[in-house]
């Protein structure tokens, strides 16, 4: 089976090279036969990669420990449901997974491309095939998931304990899928660059794919944060780790892009800027892969660390070079638009400002990620750049982006008068002022959180005002506000979906500010049946339980928690340590009792004996809102993406 998988992979590699070459030649010579041949191998690559992936899954399911990858990432006692997690839990398998997603998405993009651009996609498909060839090349020559060892172990090493969590079914696949899917908008934009007919049909499909990548990458990041919050047991969710940052950077630039594409759709300007943004996103995604596969910075996400960094670095440099050349080559084509920005107070300007702030924040994060390397090279000192740096540099910019999120959407295209802006802003300003006074009186006096909270409420009131206004104007023929509200939402899906996503971002910001500035911690030694009080909670340590599942031992601590103000209503919280002897690793699962106001978070630090343990008790205010933002974000994206009725001519 291992040889079979490997040979199919080689076949896929040859087909992929063939497809990229023939798409290119077919485009140059305008030869239909070459293109049809390229198309066939393009689709056959999907078949080959799928067969390869299934043969690796087969090896996992049959416990074929002669395969080194299988032996290192699974074991006999592993729950079969974890096979999929084991599949991408190491370097070789994750490469295969990324390739699988890449070819599937490429196939979907090409198969379902609207007929008016389908015959212009040759260059795009050629680049897609080059990317597949690159991955296949790396796997065939450097990271073969089908490598066989001469010595066959009786049992495998098992899957990394940290990965045994429901979040692991979704977080890595979504994140890798998001990063891999960025190549689709990139190649579409390359296709539009070489489209000499100057048709303006590209941005609809471009926007759909950008939104897809954006939503997938965004949810991947959020679920990663949720996983860290529930399993890593440190009370936080975002550590500004290099690998987290390289996922965040393309997402920020993509956010800029989905805004500026609107300007191109509407006014025909920003074309060059959009192409620069797409190329930047793509390069940042490749940078992410490079850093992930053995880049020069240290990270906790070491699952795929390997010595392959240089290959990805070379690929990244080649692709960067190629994007720059292709932009310069088509420069004249990109800047021949008659339309101009007419005023500072216009939707265009606000979107451009939003773009600049997003790109700058992303580049600042990039600077923070590479600064330790810069410092070693130029200054010969080892320094760390971690959370405090990013909080201070990128944090304020995010705040401005949020404020802009409120003002931008109420500005009209082309130009707005100051008076019109003030009329639409006044109610929000008044309400925000009142909220500000209330917050100040209730003790929120520190500068940054205060400004953040009132900005969040400011933006929220603006969105609500827009919706109330829209609903009212639709209520002239019906007196029921609910259908009017939904009609109003449906009437302009792009805009209202955008508002829903903005609300998601507000919820996220609300939670981040709450947890960042108002968290409380207490470290205690506690014995069974002891009761402690902390920040209005009374926490009773009920018992310690010990369980064995196979070789792994699980130690649980049970607590009964109640509010001091309301002692009758109690909650049970369980916090545990699981010890995995195969990995000699302890995985900590914290006990969390979550409400919209605050989370009580109990981290078991150390079990001293049968009756005593040390704990960290943390209060994380508003953390609940961070996780709420995920579903709202998906909902908003779906509203935006839901196709309008197809116009038939």
């Amino acid at each position: 089976m291992n040889n079979f998988g490997f040979y199919i992979m080689i076949l896929g590699f040859v087909l992929s090279l063939h497809s990229s070459l023939f798409f290119f030649l077919g485009h140059l010579k305008n030869n239909k036969i070459l293109i049809i041949s390229a198309q066939r191998s393009f689709y056959l690559v999907i078949v080959m990669v799928s067969i390869t992936s299934f043969s690796l899954i087969y090896s996992f399911l049959t416990n074929d420990f002669s395969n080194i990858y299988v032996a290192n990432h699974s074991s006999l006692d592993m729950n079969r449901a974890l096979t999929l997690v084991a599949f991408y839990s190491g370097n070789e398998g994750s490469l295969l997974y990324i390739l699988f997603i890449h070819v599937i998405l490429s196939g979907i993009m090409y198969r379902f491309a609207p007929s008016y651009i389908k015959n212009k996609l040759n260059i795009s498909c050629s680049i897609l095939a080059i990317i597949s060839s690159f991955y296949l090349f790396v796997m065939i020559f450097f990271a073969n998931p089908f490598q066989v060892s001469e010595f066959i172990p009786n049992d495998g090493k098992g899957i990394n304990p940290l990965l045994r969590h429901p979040g692991m079914y979704i977080h890595p696949p979504l994140l890798m899928c998001g990063l891999a899917s960025i190549s689709i908008p990139f190649v579409l934009c390359q296709g539009s660059l070489f489209d000499r007919s100057n048709s303006n049909n590209w941005h609809t499909i471009l926007r759909v794919w950008c939104l897809f990548s954006w939503a997938v990458l965004g949810s991947g990041l959020l679920i990663g944060a949720w996983w860290a919050y529930t399993i890593l047991g440190w009370g936080g969710y975002w550590g500004w780790d290099p690998i987290e940052n390289v996922g965040l950077m393309p997402w920020l630039v993509l956010t800029a892009l989905i805004h500026s594409i609107m300007v191109e759709e509407r006014r025909g300007i920003f074309r060059l800027w959009n192409i620069i943004l797409i190329s930047l996103t793509f390069v940042l995604a490749l940078l992410g892969t490079f850093i992930n596969r053995g880049g020069p910075v240290v990270s906790v996400h070491s699952f795929a660390a390997s010595t392959l960094g240089f290959l990805f670095l070379i690929f990244m440099i080649v692709m960067t070079f190629y994007s720059v050349i292709s932009i310069i080559y088509n420069y004249k084509n990109l800047t021949n638009n008659e339309n101009k920005i007419e005023s500072y107070l216009s939707r265009e300007s606000s979107l451009l400002l939003n773009n600049i702030l997003l790109v700058v924040s992303s580049l600042i994060i990039l600077w923070g990620v590479i600064f330790p390397v810069v410092s070693i090279i130029l200054n010969d000192t080892e320094i760390s750049v971690s959370a405090p740096y990013f909080d201070k540099t990128a944090g304020p910019i995010f705040l401005f982006i949020i404020i802009l999120m409120g003002i931008g959407p109420i500005l009209s295209w082309r130009k707005t008068t100051k008076k019109a802006v003030m009329i639409r802003l006044t109610p929000s300003l008044i309400i925000t002022l009142l909220i500000g006074i209330y917050l100040y009186l209730s003790g929120i006096k520190e500068f940054f959180p205060f400004i953040s909270f009132i900005s969040i409420f400011f933006v929220l009131t603006i969105i609500i005002r827009e919706w109330v206004g829209g609903t009212r104007s639709r209520m002239s023929n019906s007196y029921n506000p609910i259908p009017s509200f939904f009609n109003m939402i449906i009437s302009n899906r792009g805009r209202n979906g955008g508002y829903v996503v903005h609300i998601a971002i507000l919820a996220l910001a609300f939670g981040v500010v709450g947890t960042k500035f108002y968290d409380e911690r207490l470290d205690v030694n506690i014995s069974v049946s002891e009761e402690i009080e902390f920040k209005g909670y009374s926490i009773l340590f009920k018992e310690i339980q010990q369980e064995f599942i196979g070789e792994n031992s699980i130690t649980k601590a049970n607590f009964i928690v109640s509010k001091i103000s309301n002692p009758d209503e109690t909650t049970n919280i369980t916090a545990m340590h699981s010890y995995y002897p195969n990995y000699n690793q302890i995985s900590v699962r914290s006990g969390i009792s979550s409400t919209p106001i605050e989370d009580l978070y109990i981290i078991p630090k150390d079990f001293i004996d049968e009756n005593n343990m040390t704990l960290r008790i943390a209060i994380n205010p508003l953390a609940w809102w961070i996780w709420l933002s995920g579903p709202i974000l998906i909902l908003g994206t779906l509203i935006t993406l839901w196709p309008n009725k197809i116009k038939r001519n």
């Binding site: 890593l232 047991g233 440190w234 009370g235 936080g236 550590g239 780790d241 290099p242 910075v297 240290v298 990270s299 906790v300 070491s302 101009k340 920005i341 007419e342 005023s343 500072y344 300007s349 451009l352 400002l353 600049i356 790109v359 700058v360 580049l363 600042i364 600077w367 923070g368 600064f371 810069v374 410092s375 130029l378 200054n379 000192t381 080892e382 320094i383 760390s384 750049v385 971690s386 959370a387 405090p388 740096y389 909080d391 201070k392 540099t393 944090g395 304020p396 910019i397 705040l399 401005f400 520190e446 500068f447 940054f448 968290d519 911690r521 470290d523 900590v588 630090k605 150390d606």
Partner: protein, 134 residues
Amino acid sequence: MSGMIYVKNLKFILLFNFFLLTVLCSCILPEENSEKDLYIQLEKEIMCPVCDGQTLDQSQSLIAEDMKNTIKEKVSQGYNKEEIKNYFVARYGEGVIAYPKVEGFNIFAYLIPIIGLIFSLLIFGFYIRKQKLG
């Protein structure tokens, strides 16, 4: 008349820049009288030297727990923030602090983002001005 409007707008941009800068600086400068516990602050500002880019509060390794206890001890003995940080720097090197200190070569860590931000905002202002005129 139209010239007036542009000058006004430029002022607006400069003001906006200035506002951004003050916020940035207020965030970068160390907060002296923050109400939070010194111990929790330090835990977030000191790296665990062996755990690949985690701060102490993120790590549960033995050495991290050990360092946390040391911080607790030092705080209860009345050492201030700088003294405790210096103690760890002397033991583990500059890399144990979770952010580049605003001194020497490290100034570039902060200078480049600030310059980049101001520069890009100025470009934004002039770009729109040019578009309006042209």
